[in-house]
Structure formats: structure tokens, C-alpha cells
């Protein structure tokens, strides 16, 4: 069946490419006094692989370890939880993300809500005292973290796995909202968090709309909600809630902005007639 050749793009390349883009952030975390993040990363990786195998066993399907999806999910989740969080809470979060939000809701490509963000919001609601903003992206922040996120973002954009408008729109709206309603104080951590959300939390294509226009509208909505959802302004928690809210609108955006096909006067088939 045609086509008989395929592009080199694959799910594994996408996942590993995104992991490479995240690597500078971990290196910088180690050198800026946030080495505890490695403990969280280890817990996330081990538990995510375990839950992936468990789900594969229970639902009798192939585990998606080879395509790097689970490793990517674990790595991203380790950046979303505070470094001083207890192991049990982290494992519960990973269970919620990998087993419940992803596998129970249809597995790869099937879920409606971003599993990592859903797990993050779940932990926030259940353990409000333990769950604070991730240390790396909270407080005053450091210029190194900002550089790490920015460099990772550039690496991610270079891979051309998403639209360039997504981070640009998100960052622009967040900065404008913060400037208008945030009282003018914008610590470095705010920039790091906005960049991190723009590049890495809005990068899961499964929960994004199917058209370029739809994705832009989604990002606009997510940026507005992220900035205005809580009176404190933008935070990782508000960004998670905003993206989850917009996830609910994805099917509607898909239908509303259904692409209008081109109709030639004399439609012709490109292939050999059967």
C-alpha cells in the first residue's frame, strides 16, 4: 500500500528529542542547589516504568517503553512536583498520571486530559500542604534556570515538532496579562515558569486541537486562564488548571474549526485507478 517510503519522524524520536531538550534543566538544577530533583526523578522513573508494565499486563497490550513516552512522562512529572515532596506522594502522582489518567482513559493517543497535569492538580487538591510550586520554578528564581529553560526551549523548537506560535502566543499573553494586572513585579522564576509551560507543558499533541488555528485558540485560552485563574497571577498550578480546562474544549475546537477542503472543478485521483 502506498506510500512505500516513510519519513524518519517517529514517536521515539519525538520523546527522546524532548528529553534532550529537558536535559539542560536537570544539569542546571544540580549546580544551583536543587539536586534533590534527582531523587524525585529516580522515583518517578522507577514507578512510571512499573505502572506501565502493570497496565500492559492488566490490559494485555504492548508497553510503550521503547518509544520513550513513559520516560518522558516521568521526567516531566519530576519537574512539576516540589523537590521536598515525600516519596509516597510522588508515587501516587505517577500512579494517577500513568495508570489512571493515561492508561484508563485510552492509553497513548486516547486520553482527553493531559495526564501529568491531571495528576499534578489531583495531588494539589489532596495534599495542599505538601504540594507547593516546584522549587526550580518558584521563589525569586535564578538566571541559570531561566537560561536552562530557554536553551531547552530552543532545542525543542529546533526539532520542529510543534507550531512556533504556541510558545510565542502563550508567553506574549502571559507577559501582557502580568504587566497589566500583576502589579508590575515579575521575578525571574515567573519567566522560567512561563517559558517552561510554553515549551514543555503545551507540547503534548494528544490533548491539543487538530488544526493550527485551533491550537492557537487553545493556547490563547490557556494563557488567559493561567494568568487570571488565581488572584496571585501566573503559577505552575494555575497553568495546569488552565490547560486542563482548555483540554475540555479541544473536541469542540476540532469540530468548530474543521478545515474546509479545497474542491477542484474536476476532481482527480492522484493514484492509479483501481
Amino acid at each position: 500500500m502506498s506510500p512505500h517510503i516513510r519519513s524518519l519522524d517517529s514517536l521515539a524520536r519525538r520523546s527522546w528529542g524532548q528529553l534532550i531538550a529537558l536535559a539542560p534543566l536537570f544539569v542546571i538544577a544540580c549546580f544551583t542547589g536543587h539536586a534533590e530533583i534527582l531523587r524525585i526523578l529516580l522515583i518517578c522513573l522507577v514507578s512510571a516504568v512499573a505502572f506501565e508494565f502493570l497496565a500492559a499486563k492488566l490490559f494485555q497490550k504492548k508497553e510503550s517503553l521503547r518509544n520513550g513516552e513513559t520516560v518522558l512522562a516521568a521526567t516531566l512529572f519530576s519537574l512539576l512536583v516540589p523537590s521536598r515532596c515525600s516519596s509516597e506522594i510522588v508515587i501516587l502522582g505517577v500512579f494517577m498520571a500513568v495508570f489512571v489518567a493515561k492508561e484508563l482513559f485510552g492509553g497513548t493517543g486516547g486520553y482527553l486530559l493531559h495526564p501529568l497535569l491531571l495528576a499534578r492538580v489531583f495531588l494539589q487538591l489532596c495534599f495542599p500542604r505538601s504540594m507547593s510550586e516546584p522549587m526550580l520554578l518558584a521563589g525569586e528564581g535564578s538566571v541559570w534556570t531561566l537560561l536552562g529553560v530557554g536553551f531547552g526551549g530552543i532545542l525543542f523548537l529546533k526539532q520542529k515538532r510543534g507550531y512556533w506560535e504556541t510558545p510565542v502566543l502563550f508567553m506574549s499573553v502571559c507577559f501582557v496579562c502580568e504587566a497589566l494586572f500583576g502589579g508590575g513585579e515579575m521575578p525571574l522564576a515567573f519567566f522560567s515558569a512561563v517559558l517552561f509551560t510554553a515549551f514543555f507543558l503545551l507540547a503534548d499533541p494528544v490533548t491539543l486541537p487538530l488544526t493550527r488555528k485551533g491550537t492557537s485558540l487553545f493556547v490563547l485560552g490557556a494563557a488567559l486562564f493561567s494568568s487570571r485563574l488565581s488572584p496571585e497571577g501566573f503559577s505552575i498550578h494555575s497553568a495546569c488548571c488552565a490547560i486542563l480546562l482548555m483540554n475540555l474544549s479541544t473536541p469542540w475546537l476540532d469540530v468548530w474549526l474543521k478545515p474546509a477542503p479545497y474542491q477542484p472543478e474536476h476532481p482527480l485521483k492522484a493514484t492509479y485507478p483501481a
Partner: protein, 441 residues
């Protein structure tokens, strides 16, 4: 319900504003190393497919000469058929064709050893032949378009009566294929005159040559010939070398906006065949085909008689150097894989490719991640992800709502899909149900 009209308002855009496609690796160098067009030694036997609307006029045992009529047109839509080799008619029977179906064909076995190429007497005063006379010449010369549709030229002209523009398509967006390029470089004047004859037959006003921007030599050659002829109604339009921009529908959509209704597209090889039929009285029995792919010893474009088997065609290029994974008719994007190399070359066969395992490998399929790559690469602005997800669930009504019928089956979606899903297969599945009326009940 839908977005505000202002969002969808069509702007007056320049040609090429909607040139969506994929820049594929061209892989044409190997077949362009030997670009002088040759005719191989005639094969032992050929199987000439009888086109619809034609009936055989020869009997088994009858001796025929190259170019002799072997089937008569039946009805005004029909077209005659001519043999590509001299020999004896063995039988008229049903054989496997290269499009995956069985069809009636005339088998001709070579008779003796040919010493010279057949010569055709030029037609005197061919340039003054009245326009009304030309379709009859086309019909009795067996002229069909050299694209996959293989429509009789006189029928296509009749169908597009009143069109103001003729577009001669010299684009070959698929990898490996160089037959049109080699033909234009070898016979630019003949193609220009053939295009002029088509214009005359149609009563059109303008001729455009669509050439890919990477073929600078072709562009300059055509421009110089047009200048030499002082034909101001002929123009070369340069299009990007993107797949599927060279295909008829996308070519019209992106490069001739507003002219879709008043333009008709012919491949340059059809224009050449028209010139030969009118000026040299040579019937259409052979065409230029690219025999290529990594497995072929000496890939090249060459003249092949209609009906020669793929095996003989590859043999004419010194055979294969290793076992091919797939033998294709057409390019690797829209071509058709063959079960056997014994199928014959047709009028619409532009290439025979023998691809190795590492190029034509099957990859593990994974679930759709809705990455939009398919939608971004779709030249007719569809959402293949939605269509294929619906087809997987056998929701053919949903597939139809997402305009599955408008798909031109170019294969861009399947090419780009990171999950390696059989997109085109699923789209054809949905279309077949849509066509069969299952959706509507």
C-alpha cells in the same frame, strides 16, 4: 455552527500561496547519468492491455507490424490500439494488469529479428490541419493521456471544451522519476509544437509549462525555444519541487487559482505523443519510462513499448543487483506495488522502480498522537487524523462529515505520520464504504 465568516474570508492571493507539500529526497541523479533516450531490443512477447471502448481487430495467428492497429475504437469515446513490436498475435485473453485487476490483453510474440527501427512518413502540411480534424487523428492514433488516468486525449478535450488555458505539466515531484525531464530536455521543440496542436484542437488562448524550480536547465531551455518561436502565448511557470505540487489537481489549486474551471492539464509526454501522431503519423505505442530504484544496475529513462513486462523492462537496464523488496509501478509515494514482475507497462506507467528493503521497509504501527503532521501536509486541507480514526472505528458517517471524499490520495499523511499508521489504507477503506452507499444506507 462555525467560526465567524471573517476568519474564513478568502483573500486575493498570488499563485502559489497554497503550495502545501513535502520536499522529498529526489534521488534522480542515478537515472539522469544516462539521459540519452534509447529503445531496448524488442522483448520475446508483449501483452498490450485493451483500453475500454476498443475492440480487437486482429485474430490469433495474424502477423502484425510495429505500429499496426490491433484494436478499433468502439463508439465516439473509444480509442484505437497499436502494437509496439512486429510479431504474431498469439491470443486475446485475460491477464493480470499492473493496477491490480485482470483485464483483456492482446499477446504478441516477436517475429524474427528487427534490423531497423520503423520509420514514419511525415504528414505534409500538418500545421494547417483544421482544428475539427485533430480529435479524429488523436482517436485513430490511439492517443491517451500519459498520466495514471489514461483518458483518451480526444475525450479529455471534449470534456474540457471551452477551456482557455492548456497547462503542460513537466513536474515530477516523486523521487526517482525522470521520464518527463529527460523527454523535455531531448525534444523541447516537439513538445512545444504538440502543446500548440492541443491548444488548436481545444481552441484555447494560452499555454503554460509548469516546471519545478530545481530544473533550471529545463526552464532555460524552454524559455529559449519559446523566444526562438516568438510564441507570446506560451509561458513557463516555475513551481516549487514539493510533492504533490506536480499533480494535476494541486497544480491547478496552487498555481493557477481562478483558472481551475478554464484550464486543462496534459503531461509533457502527451504533448510529445500528440506531435508525433499529427506531424509524423506515428501512432501511440511506446512511451518514455524511468526504470530505477537502488536495486537496478543501470537506472535510466528509456522508450518502452506499451505491453512490455516489468521484468523485461528491468532486464533492459541490465537487471537487478540485489533482490528488491518491492517492485512498483509509479513513484514511491503514489505508485502501486506489484505481486509479480510479469505485468505489462501501460500508457500511464511513468516509472518502474525496484526498491530495496531498507527503503521500502514496513514499520511498527503505533496509536495516533494527533500531532497534526498529516493535516499540515494535506494539500487539500483535510484532517486525515480524524478521518482515519473514524475509519478505524467504522464510523463512516463521521469520515464523510470530515470530507473523506475530497481526498486526492497523495499519501502525504501516511508519509509524515510519526506513528507509521496506514493512513491511506484507512482513507481508501472509508471512501470505499462511502462510495458503496453504506454510509447513507
Amino acid at each position: 455552527m462555525g467560526p465567524p465568516k471573517s476568519l474564513l474570508k478568502k483573500r486575493n492571493k498570488k499563485p502559489g500561496w497554497k503550495a502545501i507539500g513535502i520536499r522529498l529526497e529526489r534521488k534522480k541523479d542515478a537515472s539522469l547519468l544516462n539521459w540519452n533516450l534509447k529503445r531496448p531490443y524488442p522483448p520475446e512477447k508483449i501483452h498490450i492491455p485493451i483500453p475500454p471502448g476498443a475492440g480487437p481487430c486482429v485474430q490469433p495467428g495474424e502477423v502484425v507490424q510495429t505500429g499496426q492497429k490491433i484494436a478499433e475504437p468502439q463508439g465516439p469515446e473509444g480509442v484505437s490500439l497499436h502494437t509496439g513490436i512486429s510479431g504474431t498475435v498469439e491470443k486475446v485473453a485475460v491477464f493480470q494488469s499492473a493496477v491490480g485487476t485482470e483485464g483483456r490483453m492482446i499477446e504478441i510474440r516477436k517475429h524474427g529479428e528487427p534490423k531497423t527501427l520503423p520509420s514514419w512518413e511525415g504528414r505534409k502540411g500538418w500545421a494547417e490541419i483544421p482544428a475539427e480534424e485533430l480529435p479524429r487523428i488523436f482517436q485513430h492514433s490511439g492517443l491517451v493521456t500519459t498520466d495514471p488516468q489514461m483518458e483518451p486525449v480526444h475525450t479529455k478535450l471534449k470534456r474540457h471544451a471551452g477551456a482557455r488555458t492548456i497547462i503542460i505539466n513537466g513536474c515530477e515531484p516523486e523521487p526517482y522519476i525522470t521520464c518527463e525531464q529527460v523527454l523535455i530536455l531531448s525534444h523541447p521543440m516537439e513538445i512545444l509544437k504538440g502543446a500548440e496542436l492541443l491548444k488548436k484542437a481545444l481552441g484555447a488562448e494560452k499555454i503554460f509549462f509548469a516546471i519545478e524550480n530545481c530544473n533550471l536547465e529545463m526552464i532555460e531551455l524552454l524559455k529559449s525555444k519559446i523566444y526562438l518561436l516568438k510564441w507570446e502565448h506560451v509561458e513557463v511557470r516555475v513551481v516549487p519541487a514539493l510533492y504533490p505540487q506536480g499533480l494535476e489537481s494541486t497544480l491547478l489549486q496552487a498555481w493557477f487559482p481562478g483558472e481551475e474551471k478554464s484550464a486543462v492539464v496534459f503531461p509533457s509526454s502527451t504533448a510529445f505523443a500528440v506531435y508525433e501522431a499529427v506531424a509524423q503519423q506515428k501512432p501511440f505505442y511506446e512511451r518514455v519510462v524511468t526504470v530505477g530504484g537502488e536495486c537496478v544496475v543501470e537506472p535510466r529513462s528509456l522508450w518502452l513499448p506499451i505491453g512490455i513486462s516489468f521484468h523485461d523492462a528491468i532486464h533492459a537496464c541490465k537487471g537487478v543487483m540485489r533482490e528488491p523488496q518491492k517492485i512498483l509501478m509509479g513513484g514511491p509515494m503514489a505508485g502501486r506495488a506489484q505481486m509479480t514482475a510479469g505485468v505489462p507497462v501501460m500508457a500511464g506507467t511513468n516509472a518502474i522502480l525496484a526498491l530495496p528493503k531498507e527503503v521500502a521497509k514496513e514499520e511498527r504501527e503505533e496509536p495516533c498522537i494527533r500531532c497534526n503532521v498529516c493535516a499540515d501536509h494535506c494539500p487539500v486541507s483535510l484532517s486525515p487524523a480524524m478521518i482515519t480514526l473514524a475509519a478505524e472505528q467504522k464510523e463512516f458517517m463521521v469520515a464523510e462529515e470530515w470530507n473523506v471524499k475530497e481526498c486526492i490520495e497523495c499519501g502525504n499523511c501516511a508519509y509524515g505520520c510519526p506513528s507509521k499508521r496506514p493512513m491511506l489504507e484507512l482513507i481508501r477503506f472509508a471512501r470505499s464504504f462511502s462510495r458503496a452507499g453504506v454510509v447513507r444506507g
